[in-house]
Amino acid sequence: MRTDISKIHEKTRYQDITPGNQVYGGGTSKAFNTGEWRTATPVIDESKCVHCLLCAPVCPDSCIPVISGKRLAFDLDHCKGCGICAYQCKFGAITMKEGK
């Protein structure tokens, strides 16, 4: 069975749609650049950030990578700019800037 879904898009004819729209292959949302949708962008002030890591778990799009107890830069390919990270930051380290 055909499992390559990379060619399926909004112009695909019905014969080429997967049965029940099944999506094959894991982690396919990575390829979807939802960062395009952003109208406001989070900006981190490294001097205020204490790496309490409260921002990472509340991000609905998993755009705050954490490695070895330190938060890294925002994944702006997928951040939709919702601002939840900035809202919850107790140290004023994250602010929302208008635009991409």
């Binding site: 019905y14 749609i17 099944q22 999506v23 094959y24 292959g25």
Partner: protein
């Protein structure tokens, strides 16, 4: 060689399930289908099969769990009736649109209200547009044979749709009749193992099932689903032929009983067809040219084939065992008349409603229907196009 037995319809389905030994059965009891999960759970506790039985808290959950199990890659089934099926409503569509070939042993019972436990087809007819394949039976033998064929049809790669194997509540489900069973090893060989190409618990190919589809995708997806239903027609006939080679019992979309040269025909579904056959034999002995088309497969609907089989008749009575509440007849009559029109037929077709809520349908009533058709054609008597059989008025 077949095994001569006597079983009720529910016992017959349970026996087929035992022979197939599916992977998972979530179920919630409701009359008159309760015996099916009851028998199956007994087989399991006796160690006769290793099906995983999931006792759930409602039919909504039963169908949800069945969908989950089937999506995971398991051969799955459940059983229900009437309001139980109504509670599965939302999930019926999910099962079909996600292209999950699970089986539902449906024991037809009237929907409330008034609340009633007896047979009519309002439950499955209400679900006729959910995208499930629907196969009906006249007797215990047929519901057993249909169940043995069910997974072969549903799981076929060109189909992959859920299948409803229907029988008439109490009339066949609780009636003990003669039956010829198939040897278990033959059933197992015929049905085979379930090997889905893609399934959720496959570590080699992670996948997502049931995603949101935006407008640019939705219609194409539904059309693809409809193609699967079209494909089911060929698969149903192929599986029936293979089944006939194994058992000598030949099935198709419908059975034609003394229809070939008939002037007057009844079209109907289910157990009452046998009663009509007895009426036909009596009338044939009096020289009346009468016949029957007993529909086995309602979804996919073999409309063109039905129109062709009836094209030589002078008049047809279409008997529905459920109300359509379009103030003009039941679903079977509506669909057949549509295909008559497409086929350019001008055959007189009269819609009848019979047997609601377990109302008996007798040989004499069948004879009366034929007499009414004949009177309409021979004497020009006007016949209302929408009639009830056995109604007090």
């Amino acid at each position: 060689m077949g095994i001569r037995e006597r079983l009720s319809g529910n016992e017959a389905v349970a026996h087929a399930i035992k022979q197939i030994n599916p992977d998972v059965m979530p179920a919630f009891p409701i009359t008159p289908s309760t015996e099916i999960p009851q028998f199956v759970s007994t087989f399991i506790s006796n160690g006769e099969i290793d099906t995983e039985f999931i006792p759930v808290e409602s039919e909504h959950s039963a169908m949800s769990a069945a969908i989950g199990a089937e999506a995971a890659g398991c051969r799955t089934l459940t059983a229900t009736s009437s309001c139980g099926m109504a509670l599965m409503w939302e999930e019926l569509y999910v099962a079909a649109s996600n292209r999950l070939p699970l089986a539902l042993a449906l024991v037809n019972r009237a929907l409330s209200g008034p609340i009633n436990i007896n047979c009519d087809h309002s439950d499955s007819m209400g679900a006729r547009d959910t995208g499930w394949i629907q196969i009906y039976a006249e007797n215990n033998q047929e519901v057993y044979d249909n169940f043995v064929q069910a997974y072969r049809i549903a799981e076929h790669k060109d189909v992959r749709l859920p299948i409803m194997v229907c029988q008439d509540g109490f009339i066949t489900s609780h009636a003990v009749e003669n039956i010829e069973l198939i040897e278990t090893d033959q059933v197992k060989k015929f049905v085979g193992e379930y090997e889905p190409e893609q399934y959720l618990l496959n570590p080699k190919m992670p996948m997502a099932m049931g995603p949101y589809a935006t407008s640019p995708f939705y219609m194409e997806t539904k059309m693809a689903q409809n193609e699967a239903m079209k494909n089911a027609k060929k698969v149903i006939l192929d599986v029936a032929d293979e089944f006939a080679r194994m058992t000598g019992r030949q099935y198709g979309f419908f059975e034609e009983y003394r229809l070939e040269d008939a002037d007057y025909a009844i079209v109907m579904i289910g157990s009452a067809a046998g009663t009509t056959k007895d009426a036909i034999d009596e009338l044939r002995n009096q020289g009346k040219k009468v016949g029957l088309l007993k529909l086995r497969v309602f979804r996919p609907f073999p409309g063109d084939e039905i129109a062709k089989a009836l094209s030589h008749t002078k008049a047809v009575a279409i008997l529905d065992r459920s109300e359509g509440f379009r103030a003009g007849g039941g679903p079977l009559s509506a669909e057949i008349k549509e295909h008559f029109y497409d086929a350019g037929l001008t055959t007189k077709a009269v819609s009848y409603i019979y047997g609601l809520g377990g109302r008996d349908y007798t040989v004499d009533e069948a004879k009366q229907v034929y007499a009414e058709l004949e009177d309409m054609i021979e004497n020009g008597t006007k016949l209302p196009q929408y009639r009830y059989i056995g109604l007090r008025k």
